[in-house]
């Protein structure tokens, strides 16, 4: 087994709010092998983004705080680094792209300036070198006439082009890990496909390790090798992608996949949805966070929170129920 590039252990993040302390991430542990693509799936507010921002130390503090856990990147704990050290990890070692490309670029800086910034910062390039490299990066992400576009402002670009710029910016210093936080959610379907293709191509060319956060299980199926499903700040299921789709084991994942529209659906019927709302994490849950919405819920689910356990060699779930039989495992 190759050594883990990133290993997150028991990560906990809390936010102080006027209503009380919100437990956004509750003991999340996962590993990331070099060169693999990890999909992180879950509905809004289940802690996907906060987990990533936590180990990059980008949680605004106050009100947020990482209260426990480790995040080992090549053996070094990101959570214990000085501000100076973590700054050189961000951008240079771990890049990140965001959900909404329309608001992720500074409106008063030219595209070129924004692209050149990390190059000058981390690679110590001078202006000319950085400008040349920026143009190359734009070409790489499929923007033609790159040189002319360097002097453009973000408002002159479309959403898809901006997301390409964001990707170019994230990749500019050849980071080991790219965290993509729902990069296709704000784009229309054809552009989505282009961006996914672009990332796939770049991954194969550059041999990057990717964490792809999304709530679209379709994209994950085509892109990721391994998938983590999160709910209420917990990892509820973790499996290689083929295993996950072949052998869905957590009631929440069953619901997620059930709610996907299908091409082969012939009968006109309503799309399936999971009843209820995701929990507000004001108290650290003592029961299974999914219990109120689960159709297999049992007595035991209300009393203790199921730990993440292996059901096969690479497949782990946090549930007491076997969804195939509907009985306790």
């Amino acid at each position: 087994m190759p050594e883990l590039l990133l290993e997150v252990q028991g990560l906990e993040t809390q936010f102080r709010t006027p209503e009380g302390v919100v437990h956004a991430v509750n003991g999340v542990s996962f590993g990331l092998k070099e060169g693999e693509t990890l999909g992180v799936v879950g509905e809004s507010g289940c802690g996907k983004s906060v987990t990533m921002l936590s180990f990059l130390r980008l949680i605004p503090n106050p009100p947020g705080k990482v209260t426990a856990g480790k995040a080992l990147y090549r053996g070094q704990d990101l959570l214990k680094m000085t501000d100076e050290e973590i700054r050189h990890v961000r951008g240079a070692q771990i890049g990140m792209i965001f959900q909404d490309p329309m608001t992720s670029l500074n409106p008063v800086m030219t595209i070129g300036k924004q692209l050149m910034e990390p190059l000058q910062l981390h690679l110590g390039m001078n202006k000319q070198q950085a400008a040349v490299r920026s143009a190359e990066l734009l070409e790489m992400v499929g923007i033609s006439d790159a040189k002319q576009h360097l002097n453009d402002y973000p408002h002159q670009f479309s959403g898809g082009m901006r997301q390409r710029v964001m990707i170019a910016m994230a990749l500019s210093c050849n980071p080991q890990i790219l965290i993509a936080d729902e990069p296709t959610t704000a784009l229309d379907v054809t552009i989505q496909a282009q961006i996914v293709e672009l990332v796939k191509r770049l991954r194969d060319e550059l041999g990057m390790t990717i964490i792809w956060i999304t709530h679209d299980l379709g994209i994950v199926a085509g892109l990721a090798q391994r998938v983590i499903v999160m709910y209420g700040g917990f990892i509820v299921e973790e499996a290689p992608v083929k295993e996950l789709y072949a052998n869905i084991s957590h009631p929440y994942t069953v619901g997620l996949i059930g709610s996907l529209p299908r091409v082969d659906e012939t009968v006109r019927q309503r799309l399936f949805s999971i009843e209820g709302m995701p929990p507000v994490l004001l108290n650290k849950p003592t029961a299974c966070p999914f219990a109120p919405r689960c159709k297999w819920v049992m007595e035991r689910c209300w009393k203790e929170n199921p730990p993440l356990e292996n059901i096969s060699e690479e497949h782990r779930i946090a549930c007491f129920v076997d969804v195939k039989t509907g009985k306790a495992r």
């Binding site: 980008l58 106050p62 951008g91 240079a92 890049g95 608001t103 500074n106 008063v108 981390h122 994230a170």
Partner: protein, 345 residues
């Protein structure tokens, strides 16, 4: 293969009216053109611009309009003797006469200087004070505004960016300073400073700066609080940009415009406050070319102003026009630059 649709589009030419782009717009670019046109749109904004340009010219050409007396400090108003009573407009200038400039004979038809606007108490020439006082007005107005702006922006920016308890403490300090009546506090500080650093522009300017920056820090703080939560700021942090650089390169350019507009409106106020303090005898030494100083010579003659009207009217009107010019220009600038004002008349 698809082919591009072809056809005769000439008919469209008449149905779609195109906006004509003139040579000026081509030369300046659309945004600068919009600002220029905006500044020249209403009579008020044109008046403001004309007034300020007029005063700028006076300040620049002061040595040509009325040259300083040989060997004397140009910023000290020359005295024609020591008689107490003000002398009327047009009376002859006997002692301390400045050199006659080239325009003087052509305009007035005389060979020697007279007191164009009369003299005030102690025979200070009012015209000299008004002309050279323009320089003082620009100097103090701009310096105080720039200094307060810098202080306020840096203070407010740090407060907003770091937030939390620091923000709380810093903003409470601002609250406390804002409770003090500004001009009175400045008066006291200037009065305390004057004996320490001597009579000059500096005590008054320091006092106006010390009590003038708070409103800027409040405005900029609010705008930064909104800008710092935007996605592109998070994106900058993700690529590892330093805090100070994020603040000054990424946040401030997106947040500073409302504050700049406020500053352009404040220049007139600063000059007015400075003149008020100067009128009360704080700051510069007696006889310094400064409008407040010139006006202060009228203090003892308030009861007989029907005779000595010129000692108040000329410097007073000058001050009014100067402040009005900045206010009109500031208003026009706000209309043009503040996006929240766009589309309103």
């Amino acid at each position: 293969m698809t082919t591009a649709p072809s056809g005769d589009n000439s008919l469209l030419k008449d149905t779609i009216s195109m906006r004509k782009i003139g040579w000026l717009e081509r030369f300046l670019g659309p945004e600068n053109y919009r600002i220029t046109v905006g500044l020249l749109k209403t009579p008020a904004s044109i008046l403001g611009l004309v007034l300020i340009i007029f005063f700028v010219l006076i300040a620049i050409f002061a040595p040509l309009i009325i040259p300083p007396v040989d060997g004397a400090d140009p910023y000290t108003i020359p005295r024609d003797g020591f008689i107490s009573d003000p002398q009327p407009v047009g009376s002859a200038w006997k002692k301390n006469v400045p050199p006659v400039p080239f325009w003087y004979k052509a305009v007035t038809g005389k060979d020697a200087w007279v007191h164009v606007m009369g003299t005030s108490e102690g025979q200070y020439d009012i015209f000299y004070g008004v002309v050279w006082g323009t320089r003082t007005a620009f100097y103090t107005g701009l310096m105080v505004t720039i200094a307060t702006l810098l202080m306020g922006v840096i203070y407010g920016a740090v407060s907003a960016y770091y937030g939390g308890w620091l923000d709380n403490v810093m903003m409470r300090i601002v609250d406390i300073l804002l409770i003090l009546p500004g001009i009175l506090a400045a008066l006291i500080l200037a009065a305390v400073l004057t004996p320490k650093i001597g009579k000059s522009l500096i005590p008054t300017m320091t006092a106006l700066i010390a009590f003038g920056w708070m409103s800027y820090s409040r405005i900029i703080r609010g705008d930064i609080l909104s800008v710092k939560e935007r996605d592109y700021i998070m994106a900058a942090r993700v690529i590892g940009v330093k805090d100070s650089r994020i603040l000054f390169r990424h946040i401030l350019p997106n947040a500073i415009f409302p504050t700049l507009v406020l500053a352009s409106l404040a220049i007139g106020d600063v000059v007015l406050s400075f003149a008020a303090l100067s009128f009360l005898g704080i700051g510069t030494q007696v006889g310094y070319a400064d409008w407040g100083q010139v006006l202060s010579f009228a203090r003892n003659w308030i009861t007989s102003l029907n005779t000595y009207w010129y000692i108040v009217v000329f410097p007073g009107i000058t001050l009014i026009l100067f402040v009005m010019g900045w206010n009109l220009l500031g208003d026009a600038l706000r209309d043009v630059l503040d996006p929240r004002m766009r589309g309103r008349s």
